[in-house]
């Protein structure tokens, strides 16, 4: 149990670095880099912790992505940068690369010559499962991160009205 938790915490560090790599690729302002590391790690840790509690990977990813979305709205207010600067690098480490890779392998096998019927159906079932997981995890990521941004947009507009009234 203790080693499990250590392993999860270690992976949190890697989640942070994956987020930083994409942040630099997207040329984010330098003052936001530390926060992006923290947000990426927090989102990834949430996902892994929930999966440790036997919650499905899609729901766990959705929870992680929503946390990233909420945190990036807060970070946006503090660091004066739009939320997407934090949220997009923050969720990218949760992308289901391994499932997508296995789905592609499966598709390649399926399109080749089928050896026997049984093996074919086995591959078909695995490919369908991997493909569906990839699709639903991607949707969970995108929806999870988009909703907090859309909710907070209304608040910002109110703030503009308020600010321009008080001038």
């Amino acid at each position: 149990m203790a080693t499990d938790i250590l392993l999860i915490l270690e992976k949190g560090i890697w989640f942070g670095f994956a987020a930083i790599g994409f942040a630099v690729l997207f040329n984010v302002p330098q003052r936001t880099l530390k926060i992006i590391w923290l947000i990426g790690a927090a989102g990834g840790l949430t996902k892994l912790m929930l999966m440790q509690c036997n919650i499905g990977i899609v729901i766990a990813t959705f929870a992680g992505a929503s946390l990233v979305g909420v945190l990036s709205v807060y970070a946006a207010h503090n660091k004066h940068a739009p939320p997407l600067v934090f949220s997009i690098p923050g969720v990218i480490p949760m992308i289901p690369g391994a499932f997508a890779y296995r789905m592609m392998l499966g598709l390649m096998q399926l399109s080749g010559t089928a050896v026997s019927n049984e093996a074919y159906y086995q591959t078909l079932a695995e490919t369908a499962s991997n493909g569906l997981k990839t699709m639903f995890i991607l949707m969970a990521l995108a929806v999870g991160v988009a909703i907090p941004m859309l909710i907070s947009r209304k608040e910002t507009i109110k703030k503009i009205r308020h600010k321009s009234d008080s001038l």
Binding site: F15, N27, P29, H80, V91, L150
Partner: protein, 256 residues
């Protein structure tokens, strides 16, 4: 209508077109482009109507208390991602409201923002390669597999940057990059470096994933900008297919 007045509206319109196309081509969602352009026009005392598509921007600017208006269309440059610019323009739009910037000051600020430096190339390459290695660790890779993924991502991104510099088709650049990265990672599978070298092969191409188009696509769709959302989504899917194509070519060559 007096001529001088029209000239002034035209100048404002040019600036708003700059802001809109810069935001759109550097990774902002449609909703953000609309809000920011409206916010700036509002602060300067103009009304603006926008038609935003993924590769062009059309707007009509009207004086708030006058009858002078102008319309024009501008083609949006090819999409890339530069969040420093998006963030800078967003900050500027607040300063326009709070500090009452003049049109000249705004234009100066825009040219300053567009000339802001990127991170040094070596830093970008190494940090993206580190991100690749992190992916490998997250999917269960260990030791040498991390090193292989680091090297593969480093050279993959290098190839992509060079291909973009030589003005290849953007999707083709992704195919080149994915092919290069998976050729390097595939070599480690062939030579049997590490315990589970498949991890290195699967994660060596992940630095290419079209994260910004796909997430912006969903944001646009939820936001009601359905057409732009669909366009971005299809763009993201073609990029994903380009990655798969490069990976598949390398795997066929190695016979994996």
């Amino acid at each position: 209508m007096n001529r001088q007045n029209i000239e002034k509206v035209k100048e404002v319109e040019e600036m708003l077109l700059d802001v809109g196309t810069l935001l759109m081509s550097n990774g902002a969602s449609t909703g953000r482009v609309r809000t920011t352009v409206n916010r700036i026009a509002d602060a300067l005392g103009y009304d603006v109507e926008l038609l935003i598509t993924s590769r062009s921007l059309m707007l009509t600017v009207t004086e708030e208390n006058g009858s002078d208006y102008t319309s024009s269309v501008r083609r949006t440059p090819p999409h890339g991602v530069n969040f420093r610019l998006v963030s800078g323009i967003s900050r500027m739009s607040w300063r326009i409201i709070e500090d009452k910037l003049s049109l000249e000051q705004i234009n100066e600020e825009i040219s300053r923002l567009t000339s802001l430096p990127h991170y040094p190339r070596l830093v970008v390459l190494s940090l993206v390669a580190l991100a690749g290695a992190s992916f490998c660790r997250l999917f269960g890779g260990e030791g040498w597999e991390l090193v292989v993924t680091f090297v593969a991502s480093f050279f993959g991104l290098f190839i992509r940057q060079e291909a973009i510099k030589k003005r290849f088709n953007p999707y083709l650049s992704i195919v080149f990059a994915s092919f290069a990265a998976s050729m390097i990672a595939g070599l480690s599978v062939k030579l049997g470096i590490g315990d589970t070298p498949e991890h290195a092969l699967a994660t060596s191409v992940l630095f290419l994933i079209p994260g910004v188009p796909l997430i912006n696509s969903l944001t646009d769709l939820i936001d009601g900008n359905t057409l732009n959302g669909i366009v971005r989504g299809i763009n993201g899917f073609i990029m994903a297919f380009a990655i798969a194509l490069g990976l598949m070519c390398a795997m066929q060559i190695y016979g994996l």
